[in-house]
Amino acid sequence: MSKALLEVLEPFTSSSEESDYGATGIHRRHTTTLDNLARVCEAFLGAGYIFEMLSCIDLREKEEIMRLCYTFNSLETADRHLVHADIAGGLEAESFEAPSISSLARGADWQERETFEMYGVTFVNHPELERLLLPEDADFFPLRKDFGRIEDAEAQDD
């Protein structure tokens, strides 16, 4: 982790803390806003990091947010950075929007499509945001926490 990168990141992140690599596999965690996401991504890619993974956590029930999690890693020395960006919205929220970074890291293209179909997060300016894994006529977001609860299914079976 170079100091220069941290300095570049500093204005765009609201928090940045070390993480125990041995136990978590992550070197550093950052929190940013949706507006600054592209800048953060640019900073990492500019420093020679690659975009590794995009995921999402459904925290609508507890914290009224949908949390996007990006990891960036260096191919030369292992240096994994986890970046959080929260989208506000509770259980009743109709849409979740986030900026697309697929123009910066082309690998994000499919991962954003997957997040879109699994969580219903719309990525603005994505070249072709359509369903990836599910049938084209699927109308649900399977990885949202309120979809397909086992308790619901068992209740139905009874």
Binding site: A23, T24, G25, E52, C69, A78, Q111, L133, L134, G148
Partner: protein, 378 residues
């Protein structure tokens, strides 16, 4: 699905020269259920669009509904060709989170099992890749060798393909002298056969014509798409999770990370063949150094509760960087398990790599990056 033409693939724009071709999901060289929508101009590919999801099995949702132990058998079915690596990788991730110590003997057994699995995966790739190029016999030869590995692993794990050999803290069954002797014998056999493969296949004029300078993935492109594994190493980047973030005792072993800079199909071919050799080297060292001892800790917790927090652990599968992003909430059911699978990223680079190639090359290129569909669809 031989004659189904999807409505969205009908050529537009009034350019009568471009027509569309639907390949898959049932097509002999689509490695299962990949579907490619190709816009062709004669035999030249103008645009390629992969359609995936035909073997989506909701692994990630299942992980949120099952506890850590219940999810264990799922892992080897995500990528059935390197099931051992996935299975043991998942075990290692949970062990690191919970701080469970793995005995030295189990570590060595895991390394042997991992590398045998990697060799078998590469052998299968070798066979199917040549099948894609029209050579049928190499496929059966490589399966012959692969069967040896499956037999050896069958002996200790009880299964041929979808292993569930790992347990949190070790492995289920101990290996015996017979296993080690058979593995040693296999190493001698595969080294001899690799020479033959090289003579018969890599030096074949037709194969060289078909592979050299075909489907070049540049270093920049590979990095941008997050391509990993042999495909990345064929594009000139030294990146191997076993070396970059040593896990499961790999730091103890001496092996090279083969790298080529051409980035073409032939380079990917050679990288995999040299990786088989490197795996042989690792197994040899592991057999030599395997200590006596227990394979599982004496006392184990009944439930494996994941403390609150976020974790990311990666292993090097036969196809590249397999990452598990786990979010714990204090219970033994993870709040989130994201599987970052290598073929997913590797395949996402295909539209760019395929544009402008010939139809026959399309098959060769998709074959050369070694996709396993359930791993992409999860």
């Amino acid at each position: 699905m031989t004659n189904a033409v999807p409505p969205e693939a009908t050529p537009g724009g009034g350019d009568g020269e471009v027509y569309s071709l639907n390949m898959g999901p049932q097509h002999p060289s689509m490695h299962g259920v990949l579907r490619l929508l190709l816009d062709l101009k004669g035999e030249e590919v103008v645009k390629a669009k992969p359609v995936v999801g035909y073997s989506h099995r909701a692994h990630e949702k299942m992980a949120e509904n099952r506890n850590t132990l219940q999810f264990l058998p799922n892992t080897s079915r995500i990528d059935y060709l390197s099931g051992m690596i996935y299975n043991l990788g998942y075990c290692q991730a949970i062990e690191k989170i919970l701080g469970i110590e793995v005995s030295e003997r189990a570590v060595y057994i895991r390394v042997i099992a991992n590398e045998l699995n990697r060799i078998s995966s590469h052998l299968l790739w070798f066979g199917t890749f040549l099948l894609d190029l029209g050579g049928i016999t190499p496929f059966l030869y490589s399966f012959d060798d692969r069967e040896e590995i499956l037999d050896i692993l069958d002996q200790v794990t009880g299964s041929r393909l979808t292993y569930c050999y790992g347990r949190f803290g070790g492995v289920t069954m101990d290996v015996d002298e017979d296993f080690l002797a058979r593995t040693t014998a296999f190493l001698a056999r595969i080294r001899e056969r690799l020479g033959m493969y090289d003579d018969l296949v890599a030096k074949n004029v037709i194969l060289r014509e078909r592979c050299i300078n075909v489907g070049v993935i540049s270093t920049e492109m590979a990095k941008s798409y997050g391509v990993t594994g042999p495909s990345l190493r064929a594009s000139g980047v030294v990146y191997d999770v076993r070396r970059a973030e040593p896990y499961g005792g790999y730091e103890k072993f001496d092996f090279d990370v083969p790298v080529l800079h051409e980035g073409d199909t032939m380079a990917r071919f050679h990288i995999r063949i040299s990786e088989i050799e490197e795996s042989c080297k690792i197994i040899e060292q592991a057999i030599k150094g395997i200590p006596e001892g227990a394979i599982l800790p004496k006392k184990m917790p009944k439930r494996f509760k994941i403390p609150e927090g976020e974790y990311y652990f990666a292993v090097e599968s036969a196809r590249g960087h397999f990452g598990m992003y786990i979010v714990g909430d204090g219970t033994d059911v993870p709040a989130k398990l994201k599987l970052r699978t290598p073929s997913f990223s590797n395949l996402s680079a295909m539209p760019e790599a395929l544009a402008g190639t010939m139809l026959a090359d399309t098959i060769a290129i998709v074959g050369s990056i070694d996709v396993v569909m359930p791993e992409i669809d999860r």
